[in-house]
Amino acid sequence: MTAGDALLLLPAALPALLAPASFLPRTARGALRLCSLGTAATAALMGAASIAVFTGGTLSTAGGWLRLDALSAFHVAVMALVFAMSAAQVPGAFAEGTADALPRAAARRFGGLWFGSLAAMLTVLISGNLGILWVGVEATTLLTAFLICVRANPGSLEAMWKYLIVCSVGVALAFTGTLLVAASAARAPLRGAGTLLWTGLAASAGSLDPGLLRAGFVFLVIGYGTKAGLAPMHSWLPDAHSQAPAPVSAVFSGFLLNCALYCIFRMLPIVEAATGGSGWGSGILVALGLASLVTSAVFIVLQKDLKRLLAYSSLEHMGIITLGVGLGGAGAFAAMLHTLAHSIAKPTAFLSAGRLVAGFGSHEIRHVRGALAASPVWGAGLLVSLLALLGAAPFAMFATELMILRTAVGAGSTAVAAVFLAAALTAFVGALRLVIPMAWGPAGETVGPLGASAADRVQVLLALLALLALGLFLPAFLAGILSRAAAVIAGGTP
Amino acid sequence: MTATPALAAASILSGLLLAPLTPAVIARTKAVFAGRRGAPLSQPYRDLAKLLRKGWVFSRTTTGLFRAAPVLVLACGAAALAMTAPAGIAPGWGFAGDMILFAYLLGTARFLTVAAALDTGSSFEGMGASREVLYSALAEPALITGLAVLARISGSSSLAGIYAGLGADVWMSAGAAVLLVLVSFLIVLLAENSRIPFDDPNTHLELTMVHEVMVLDVSGPDLAAVEYGASLRLWLFGTLAVRLALTPSGLGGWELLAASIGGMLLLAVLVGTIESVTARLPLLRAPLPLAAAVALTVLAYVLAARFLG
């Protein structure tokens, strides 16, 4: 086994081994600590693999069944960030003596499912075979379902059931899409197993049957779009993201949605090549992106629950990313940068919100008052990350939204730009109206501890500084990585 | 092959004479299931004779429609019998589209029954009328679609043509469709003739009746006409199904006539068995088997269209 193969396999093998090992620790605290440390180790391995791809080029093994190129390596790096941030907060979120404390059995189950989902998401990213990709996505649905209701209460069980059924049905439809794609390759000169490999499909995109491929793409978009929470398949998203414990919500919003979008973006260049570059596939993505934006704007204005507000914000951002990729060119680059920025801001927001909710004893916005006064660390974490998420300058997401707007206007689709602007502005105003009383003013009644350890402070500070830095200037190496990832979506050689 | 008139006359006469036998066979079968000896098979004939000897009693609220309806119903039944009983037995009998006329003669008979029931102004009859129409509204699409399937498969819209066109070779390729139609015809038969599981012919509680309550106010020879008309109706639906089931056998002429009479008696035993082993459905759930019958006939149509290209 070469070093490249090891780099590909180890990040997935480690969590797969740690999952059963999570049932060994003798205390709840031990299980949660294993969770954070194991995730940190896995994140380091993932970082190493990504760096290897960024510096050395595509890694591929097992006849192309496992491969990492610029796009998947970028997503692996983002995933490492999200998981590291969330796992660092796991012991604190379930600390003993608080209302959220987990008994030992539940903590072990949490650890096992956490590592299982980590391994499954990595399988999705390193798989070069459409079929294995699908198996990974379905596995993430099943493994994360019980993470939502690790604290069994009526709300979380209802959210878990909705998530399980809606996403399973969606992913089943995605499998139909996979079958149709494989069928479209029946007449292309591919061998048996090669009909489902990205490399094979991309190479023979010209000889794929366009009708079947279109039908397959529609099913794939609907199916994986359900998993990504794009409107109108988003009904599970606010419930699942708001009822899950904070670290789980952070992972869901910070990466799981992006993982599903990754699957769609992989198919886009193949569809574009097979349909003669007519923009049919991109048009679908633009439409879905706009639908998500509009839906999220409406519901953000009407929100009363803090975590649901953050969940709808995720819907909005997935919409922006999809819109950017659909517009193509600089829009795809902006979408990649937006992915990175969102995956830093959203977990920070959820983790801070989780602590604040535990402190104030309620999910509702009207009970969370004066967060900055009650806890400078978590209050600032929530406030600043929310401002960044809403697209306030000078944070990164302002720049990316501007880039996408410019791409839309430049391409002549002023209607798209207008709808985008209207939805983003509505969300901005609607959310800000709710955030200001949450952050400033005298502190509301607290029922739980709102302390923050030194490590927590460092984590929040680093995240907020990163958001600011990304907005102000983009280092050359990062720009290079982002543009190579965007190039894969545009159909360049990976 | 003997002459057409003899065959035609024989098939029509056998229908007219043997129709009251079918309810008798059904009652006998139910009696056997219940461990009783049951009434003799000639009982319906004796009941008809007794009723013919009695006088009429008409309610003051009824009009001429009520007086005319039983005879008109009988006329519809007899016309349908004359049209369809010799089909497939006597060569050359029938005309294009006669299956539609068959279905609508039966529908007219039902309409007249319902109208006469409403004419009495009694709430019992009105209740029975509305229930009867509810079931028929679901049974009729099943019947028509089933006939359409058969027409599609055999390529003819005449009952005689249908029977001729459904030879053994057609059964090999589109047999599944014909079987589905047969099953749905059986369900329609049970519904249109007020048999369990749609209606209990032996109930004496008016609020649970569907068909029997519509004829509460009929008396004397009119009642004889109504009862005879009901058995004719059963004979008509029955021969439709039996002839369909006999199509792959390749019989013709007198053998087919004998076989179809025998098949009718067997069908009566089958209906009696179904009545003995099933329970009556609650009123609100009765549409379900009819919806199933519609579903089966649509499925049969789709399959027939696909199998025959």
Binding site: V135, F146, L157, L164, A182, A183 | A291, F307
Partner: protein, 212 residues
């Protein structure tokens, strides 16, 4: 399109109609088990005989015909529900909807022309109608077990569709899909039990706390 295959496909459609028309959980579970067995026999009826095909068929039959009904039956017994409470769409309208789905599926297949290889047979339209029936059941039924049954019907339809669309899917992927399905049903069964523990019912129509 040979006779055994046709008979299997017609039986599959009839099992769909039976599921649409019935609300009794016990009979629904048995029907979907029968449907799984029939679906598992499809590749054999089509004439395949390789070792992989036999193994796959046997696995599908065992999983869908025996394991899943046991998992669902356990969930049903523990929750002490034996029939659908009150479906969103009544049984007779469901049957008629099933007929409409069937007609629609055949029409769709006619529109797709000869895109898929086994055109001229009824495999593709039957697969489509099973998929849409499964979706309909997931939406129209309220009892959690019935929703899982709808999901299984959807999966059966997709399996039938895979026979028509893509024969060369690698064996490993097929096994992965089956394993995923098994874990899915297992997880759903456990989820139902936990819901029942918390709520004392498994009527998802009453899970309406989260709104907005």
């Amino acid at each position: 399109m040979n006779a055994p295959m046709e008979a299997l496909l017609v039986a599959l459609i009839l099992s769909d109609l039976a599921l649409l028309g019935s609300g009794r959980l016990g009979s629904c579970i048995r029907t979907v088990a029968l449907q799984g067995i029939l679906a598992g026999l499809l590749p054999l009826a089509e004439g395949g005989a390789g070792f992989q095909i036999l193994l796959l068929g046997a696995t599908v039959v065992v999983l869908k015909g025996f394991v899943f009904p046991r998992l669902l039956g356990r969930a049903m017994r523990e929750s002490a529900t034996s029939r659908e409470v009150q479906p969103l769409v009544g049984y007779a309208p469901s049957l008629l909807a099933g007929v409409a789905i069937l007609a629609g599926a055949f029409w769709l297949d006619g529109r797709m022309g000869g895109l898929l290889r086994s055109s001229g047979g009824i495999l593709v339209p039957v697969a489509f109608s099973m998929m849409f029936t499964g979706l309909f059941l997931v939406v129209a039924r309220r009892t959690a077990v019935n929703q899982v049954i709808g999901y299984l019907v959807l999966e059966n339809g997709i399996y039938a569709f895979s026979l028509a669309a893509a024969r060369e899917i690698p064996f490993l992927v097929e096994l992965g899909v089956l394993m995923d399905l098994f874990v899915a049903v297992f997880v759903m069964g456990i989820a139902i039990q936990r819901i029942n523990l918390e709520f004392d019912h498994i009527d998802s129509g009453r899970l309406t706390r989260l709104r907005g």
